[in-house]
Amino acid sequence: MTPDRIIRRLALWWLLGAFAFSPSAFGKLTIEITEGAGSGIPIAAVPFKWIGSGSPPEDIGAIVSADLYRSGRFDLLPASDFLSRPSEVSEVRYKDWRLIKAEALVVGRLTMTGPDQFDVSFELLDVYREKVKTGLKFSVKRSQLRQVAHQISDRIFYEMTGIEGAFNTRIAYVTMQQQDKDRIYQLMVADSDGHNPQEILKTTNLPVLSPSWSPNGQWLAYVSFSDDRSGANIWFQDIASGQRRRIARIDGSASAPAWSPDGRSLALTVSASGNTDIYVMQVATGELRRITKDPAIDTEPAWSPDGRDLVFTSDRGGRPQIYRAKADGTGVERLTREGKENAGASYDPTGKRLVLVTNRGSGAGYQIGVFYLESGRTDVLTDGTLDESPTFSSNGTMILYATKMGREGVLAAVSADGRVRQLLKLHDGDVREPAWSVSR
């Protein structure tokens, strides 16, 4: 990293830090970038012009800048370098931006049009071709402004990279806090940048784990326990209403829910009489079909994007490794051959890669890896010792996972190519079990 880049990074840090800790934008999660790629597309995002009384309700430009920066694909040029502050295309002097080596420029406006009504508009400009690449205008209420900012980020990301953005999505995660003798668990849902965290479940001494989003983003399936000591079971919860129900009573325990891509089926693990196997349940009817029939542990099912295959963890070979079967249970084959243990796999949106937890042996512990189905090779992306629960963003560019800072669980994200890593720091308690939604 050149000194110039380091200074830029620190300057941006200052900017993002001020944004993250300002009272109006205060969220339970703050994002802290620990390592940058340093080779992103140089882009300048001018703070959006505020047309209204008082101070702007949200800093749209800062939200967009933070999104783009976190993706690792962009170098955000510091505002202190800007030679002018246009908010309209007509005000842009392209040479001002060529001078500071910006390839792209974002300008925008936030206008108050009523008591709780705002117009947001922006343009993305190509500095060298001197033309507008794209632009959008929204009319929304105050509560929708952050979501609009993420949609702007998605549009810019797509225009600049050709890949669909995944900023306007949500994440679920579990927090645990020790209070005297009790362990308090919360299942949380937040925006993809950690803002707007909302509790959807709180339990005392009943662990919560393995949240899985329905493809339409309306439901979460998760594992928890009831107070009747009946063991782990799966609940469905409607996120908007909070209504929840336990899946049909199963003889034994149920865990590891995974929604099929069409939303009609749930792959899950059932333990009965000491044997743990994969099943598929029809969500509408509760009908169960057994997929694996091995005396070993078979768990952590995950669907291929086309819904035809399931990958799962099995220790039928002695140690946990990743296997694949057709969705009807036929054609079981072992996939992972590198590493002492591999577990917790799930597909990326292309179906060509799996993200998983890998243990390479020699006391190295557990890291996050990306397994390439064609070559059978695994890239190890992290260097923790207890990293787990990896989850791809809907566009396959980022992986959210759980790691440890000392004894404390925190969430972290790494780009799928391993170049950019960031910590998402919760202010108190242990944070774990992230799951990234496919849709908003």
């Binding site: 390592e35 001494n205 662990p207 393995s210 928890s224 009747d228 000591r229 917790g344």
Partner: protein, 181 residues
């Protein structure tokens, strides 16, 4: 490919990183003490929506206390396992058999076998591993005449550790089956 978490930010976390609890382990012969203090005895779930709320109060269950006579195998309610294993050590076998004989001779008693794992490996795998451990104990119980319908197995995986340390001393205390009756 591998790079270190390498900036100033990490420094902010060093305080946290070095403040992990030290593990307290007393393991020698049969003198194993497990502090039950980390697990409370009140359970409760409250589900809520982002729009509307929905509250469900829970019942109270009582977690039985460990008895304290360590010379008597019946006084020991916890057996321990090796990493990723559900095989009973000779010491564990002796304790399990003593409980099995007692329960077989006292029909009508119900027993809960609670399986646990250490934090290494994925949470879901550990849930299955705890199940396997509880089932291993259940098999011995049944082979010695405890009726299957008097036994309930439950796994908490790695979710209810008794020791919070991050080393073998702590992990060895967490890989266990608790025999509760």
């Amino acid at each position: 490919m591998m790079r270190r978490f390498g900036t100033i930010v990490l420094v902010l976390f060093l305080g946290v990183a070095i403040s992990g609890c030290a593990a307290s382990k007393k393991k020698g012969g049969s003198a194993v003490e497990v502090e039950d203090a980390t697990i409370g005895n009140t359970t409760d779930s409250t589900a809520s929506g982002i729009g509307t709320g929905d509250t469900t109060a829970g019942e109270i269950i009582v977690v039985e206390e460990n008895t304290t006579d360590m010379d008597d195998p019946l006084g020991q309610r916890v057996v321990y396992f090796d990493f990723d294993s559900a095989n009973l050590t000779p010491e564990a076998q002796r304790i399990v058999e003593a409980h099995a004989q007692y329960l077989a001779g006292n029909p009508g008693m119900a027993v809960v076998l609670e399986g646990h794992a250490d934090e290494r490996g994925t949470r879901e795998y550990n849930l299955a591993l705890g199940e396997r451990r509880a089932n291993a104990v259940s098999q011995i119980f049944q082979s010695l005449g405890v009726p299957a319908d008097a036994i309930r197995t439950i796994s908490y995986g790695e979710e209810r550790p008794v020791s919070m340390g991050q080393d073998e001393g702590a992990w060895s205390l967490n890989r266990r089956v608790e025999i509760l009756y």
